[in-house]
């Protein structure tokens, strides 16, 4: 068997048509995950009773199990919950009318929330306590100090970690293939099966993932350079 280079190019064009969907499936969970992550990180740092241990379990469970499990659990679990609620409220709603994409994005969001919360927590904890005390000393409230001093520093320190999360979740979207969502890997598999050229199709999809990851890394590097331009320390 020889590799059909022309077909790689053909597949590249065919598969990259669904790139927007994959990007949407990456960006939505990561953004929502950061929101969840900030909330969870604060509750865990403040060590709120009941809520903090619960969220500790949430974070450790989602970080301790494969993402494919989250997708499957949400895909099979949420419809049961929705049906029970619909029945209790006597609403005519079929869980089967929920698009599969919704489950995937929900699962990835929950997962991203757990990863993001750890990053934000370590980011906040990496800012010296004296910064908060200094902010208090000049009369700022807790939320002002957080918004103006602590969080910006925490975020700029967490950029490399967030880059890894974004790339990690870009790669995690490939798991939606198991629920036959037509994202990059799913379409690659379809293109491969139709033409019986599996290797070529997966080389093409690999190249697409690779370029997107490289672009994300390059962007993150530029942002990091700008954000940390004033905090080089020393002379």
């Amino acid at each position: 068997m020889t590799i059909d280079y022309a077909f790689i190019f053909e597949a590249l064009i065919e598969i990259s048509k669904v790139l927007p969907l994959t990007l949407f499936m990456t960006v939505t969970p990561v953004l929502l995950g950061i929101v969840i992550g900030i909330i969870v990180a604060f509750v865990r740092i403040q060590q709120t009773k009941i809520l903090a241990p619960l969220l500790n379990f949430y974070v450790s469970f989602f970080r301790g199990t494969p993402i494919i499990m989250h997708i499957m659990l949400v895909y099979f679990g949420i419809p049961i919950v929705v049906d029970v609620i619909a029945k209790a409220l006597k609403i005519e709603y079929q869980s089967s009318s929920i698009p599969i994409l919704f489950f995937v994005i929900l699962a990835l969001t929950l997962s991203a929330g757990a990863y993001a919360s750890e990053i934000i927590r370590s980011g906040i904890l990496s800012v010296p306590k004296g910064q908060l005390e200094a902010a208090y000393a000049v009369g700022l409230t807790f939320s002002q100090a957080m918004r103006r001093y602590i969080l910006p520093q925490a975020f700029s320190k967490s950029i490399p970690n967030f880059t890894n999360v974004i790339i990690g979740f870009l790669h995690a979207t490939s798991l939606a293939f198991f629920l036959s969502v037509k994202e990059l890997t799913g379409v690659a598999n379809i293109v491969a099966s139709i033409n019986l050229k599996f290797l070529e199709a997966f080389i093409a999809v690999g190249l697409i993932y690779w370029s997107v990851s490289a672009i994300v890394e390059w962007l993150a590097h530029r942002i990091e350079k700008r954000v940390t331009a004033y905090s080089r320390g020393g002379i």
Partner: protein
């Protein structure tokens, strides 16, 4: 479809799934071991700045880090037989397990190489010079002075790689390996209760990851035993 969760089924399938745990651990152990070996080998040209080889390895590492492990699995699964066919070796009937171990080895090697390289670079150059000044040879200085310090730095990252590699093994079933998830899929087919099976699988993964984390944390403390208290705890 019956709606309520059948907890007895979870308890019932757990022992069945656990029988396939050795397969998962086998993938993990082989992939980590060979991944470390290959990682050391490919870290050397980058550390010594060997031209051409260094660039090739940079591209290799970037590719592995830039593509999903699922795509890598398919690439190895379809690519290696195609490659070997060029030299007239037919491996189309080879056990899928080998492809899985090869994929995870290649993937781990990229991570380990970067970890080793970064760890060795964190060791102060003066240490090497001090070792030379007391008369150690280059290899002795590296093995006795630099390496132990580098391992201490590298260990937490190696731990993370191993744990994410353990979680990644859950994809091995996609090319037909009968591991825990593979067995789970057949159980779903026979019981038609997907949620319970996936819950059981999640429990197993969660417990193993927690155990592995605990064991590795203890080793980390051991490696840090000569460090001052503050530095060790940070």
């Amino acid at each position: 479809m019956a709606n309520d969760l059948d907890f007895t089924l979870i308890a019932k399938v757990l022992p069945i799934l656990l029988q396939y745990l050795p397969v998962t651990l086998e993938i993990l152990v082989f992939a980590t071991f060979f991944g470390m070996l290959l990682g050391i080998v490919i870290a050397i040209p980058k550390l010594l700045h060997i031209p051409v080889l260094k660039q090739i390895i940079t591209i290799y590492i970037s590719f592995i880090r830039g593509t999903p492990i699922l795509v890598q699995l398919f690439l190895v699964f379809y690519g290696i037989p195609a490659l070997l066919k060029l030299v007239n070796i037919d491996v189309t009937r080879m056990d899928a397990m080998y492809f899985v171990i090869i994929t995870y080895t290649l993937s781990n090697a990229a991570s380990f190489a970067e970890i080793f390289r970064a760890a060795i670079l964190t060791v102060d150059r003066g240490q090497m010079e001090a070792a030379y000044s007391v008369g150690l040879s280059g290899i002795q200085a590296f093995l006795r002075i630099v390496l132990p310090q580098a391992i201490r730095v590298a260990f937490p990252n190696m731990t993370n790689t191993m744990i994410s590699s353990l979680k990644d093994t859950s994809l091995a079933f996609s090319i037909g390996v009968m591991d825990m998830v593979g067995r789970g899929e057949t159980l779903i087919a026979s019981t038609t209760r997907a949620l319970e099976i996936y819950l059981a699988l999640s429990i197993v993964y969660y417990v193993i990851v927690m155990l592995l984390e605990k064991v590795l944390k203890r080793n980390e403390r051991y490696l840090n035993r000569y460090m001052p208290k503050e530095a060790a705890s940070s």
